[in-house]
């Protein structure tokens, strides 16, 4: 048994559970891609050659046109710039959902796991309630009720995304709490808060990071799905899912306008999944 408990994942993808730590180079490359994507997102506005909202060229230029690597859309906006800024919106939205889930679910999980007893019972019943509802469907309903908009989408998805983290992290905390060194510290009279911060949290963090990195891809795809139903980012600000939805009617005429952001969603999801797996393997290998 490895030191890291393997979380049950939502729409899990992976190359397989257990490619071995011997292949650190491949793993590091994949993790590097994950970091690179984040860097691209951070510096998107510097990398973008043009203003993503203003028309800057002829209409409907196909990819590899001079001056516009990915072409232009039906309003003459530079698609490379839109894709980069859209990637930032999608990536950071997904990160936001995952971070909110980790913070809220993690807090709940740590408290429930560390305190046990009736607190654990109460918090986990609450978590189970959310877990038992069909998450993606509830996200759709919440988003439909609040109306379209990126913030509303994030609220809808965050609302259903945290319970998984609460479950996983609680299990991890319970496991750690019964470990001999934690047991010993408790017997030695170490305070509960100190116990949590010194002994339990450091053990939980790797699981949390792996779970989160595996999840980003799922969130990116889910956000794109909500955008397809007409919820999600308002124009003209670019966001990958919304850009696909807004231009889907061009699929048979100027295919590259919906396909480029769609492909970017796929690549992001792939990178997040491969990178997440690689990260887990690396962490597992170090133990």
């Amino acid at each position: 048994m490895t030191a890291i408990s393997v979380p049950r994942r939502r729409f899990a993808l992976s190359l397989g559970e257990r490619f071995r730590p011997a292949h650190r180079i491949v793993n590091w490359t994949l993790v590097g891609l994950l970091v690179l994507t984040t860097l691209v997102a951070v510096f998107a506005s510097l990398l973008a050659p043009d203003n993503p909202i203003q028309p800057v060229g002829d209409l409907n230029l196909p990819p590899f046109s001079p001056g516009h690597l990915l072409g232009t859309d039906n309003l003459g906006r530079d698609l490379l710039s839109r894709t980069l800024i859209g990637l930032r919106a999608s990536w950071f939205s997904a990160l936001a959902v995952v971070v909110i889930g980790l913070l809220f679910g993690g807090l709940l999980g740590v408290v429930a796991g560390a305190f046990g007893g009736w607190i654990d019972g109460l918090l986990m019943r609450f978590t189970d309630l959310f877990l038992a509802l069909p998450g993606a469907l509830v996200a759709i309903a919440v988003n439909a009720a609040l109306g379209p908009g990126l913030i509303h989408t994030l609220i809808g998805v965050s609302l259903v995304w945290w319970p998984y983290y609460a479950r996983i992290i609680r299990a991890e905390v319970r496991g750690l709490a019964s470990r001999p060194h934690v047991e010993a510290a408790r017997l030695a009279g170490v305070g509960r808060l100190r116990l949590i911060f010194k002994h339990i949290l450091p053990g939980v963090v790797p699981t949390a990071i792996v779970t989160a990195s595996l999840d980003i891809g799922n969130v990116v795809v889910l956000l794109a799905g909500l955008s397809f139903l007409g919820l999600g980012q308002s124009a003209p600000a670019p966001e990958l899912g919304a850009d696909v939805q807004h231009s889907l009617y061009l699929l048979l005429e100027q295919w590259w306008i919906p396909i480029i952001p769609g492909l970017t969603v796929m690549v992001l999801s792939l990178i997040a999944n491969l990178g997440g797996d690689a990260l887990r393997n690396l962490l597992a290998g170090e133990k």
């Binding site: 729409f11 257990r18 993606a136 309903a141 794109a224 139903l229 889907l248 048979l252 999801s269 792939l270």
Partner: protein
């Protein structure tokens, strides 16, 4: 064991009430005006006000909720603002199509998952491409996958149809594949299968990967386990070993993952049915969202949520039967 089943049933009932309350609160905060959707077009404010009264939308909302819950218990989910028919009869009309699509797709997912797991664990030569394609398919948003499939297999190749189920109504079961066989209608069966294939695949890829991955992990660890080695040493044929010792041992994890995946397929089915104009309740939901047809949205959410809750309760019970330790 009976206590466990009862407890699980009670919990499912509570969940349904919570779900209905959630849906109702969402309806209250939604910005759309359902009365306006009901009368449509260039309707005057006076006509809208009359409709609001007729639909009971002018009453205070706790009263509306209690009435909704009371009626729901009697099998009345209100009137769809778009079709003007009772939501329950709409759901009844569209449910079989969704049930057939989801079941078909689920079977497809299991088959794809088994192939993924076996080909991976046993390293069948040349199957890397299959796994790669499946992997990429699963990262694609379902609508892109669906539309891509339509463009290639309908637009370019003319192999498969682009929309619908191929028939207007199907009786007695509502499942085209079953009904056509009952009637001895082979052409109808083939047509039904062709219509199912693309939407079924678009819906199956993501769960196939998730289930396949769990299965494969199970296979790989079981394959190296001592008792399997013993079995192989005893000269039991490869396939027999695989089936008797390995697959069965990895089924438990795969089963619980399957229950979970079914829930995500219900969300996916909304998108896939919309792309393929598939006359099911997902398509019904997708058409209801733009019109703020909340009785319909609530009905679909309750129905799909209910099925999800019940399926997971059943999975729990099955697992408990298989392994009584889980009931504690």
């Amino acid at each position: 064991m009976i206590r466990f089943v009862l407890k699980r049933t009670g919990a499912a009932a509570v969940l349904l009430v919570v779900l209905s309350a959630l849906v109702f609160v969402l309806q209250q905060i939604s910005p759309g005006d359902p009365a306006r959707a009901y009368v449509g077009g260039n309707a005057s404010p006076a006509a809208v006000a009359a409709a609001r009264q007729q639909l009971g939308l002018d009453q205070p909302w706790p009263q509306q909720y209690l009435r909704y819950l009371w009626n729901a218990l009697h099998g009345d989910l209100g009137l769809s603002l778009r079709t003007h028919q009772p939501v329950t009869s709409d759901l009844g009309q569209f449910l079989p199509a969704t049930a057939e699509l989801v079941l078909f797709s689920f079977v497809l997912a299991i088959v794809l998952a088994l192939l993924f797991a076996l080909s991976g664990a046993l390293r069948w030569p040349g199957t890397g491409i299959y796994r790669g394609v499946l992997l990429v398919g699963a990262t694609a948003p379902a609508f892109l996958l669906g539309l891509g499939g339509i463009v290639v297999f309908y637009g370019d190749l003319h192999w498969l149809p682009e929309a619908g189920r191929g028939v207007d109504t199907s009786s007695p079961t509502g499942f085209v594949l079953v009904d056509s066989l009952l009637h001895g209608d082979l052409t109808g069966f083939v047509a039904g299968f062709q219509h199912l294939l693309l939407p079924g695949l678009a819906l199956a890829v993501a769960p196939a990967i998730s289930i396949g991955r769990i299965l494969r992990a199970g296979l790989e660890s079981a394959y190296g386990a001592d008792y399997v080695r013993t079995a192989r040493a005893k000269g039991i044929r490869e396939f027999g070993v695989l089936w008797r010792h390995v697959v069965r041992n990895s089924l438990d994890a795969a089963l619980s993952m399957s229950g979970l995946q079914l829930g995500f397929m219900f969300a996916g089915v909304v998108i896939v049915e919309d792309v393929f104009s598939w006359p099911g309740i997902g398509y019904y939901l997708a058409q209801s969202i733009p019109q703020s047809d909340f009785p319909a949205i609530a009905g679909v959410t309750l129905l799909l949520g209910g099925v999800y809750i019940v399926v997971n309760a059943v999975v729990d019970v099955i697992q408990a039967v298989a392994d009584p330790r889980l009931t504690v």
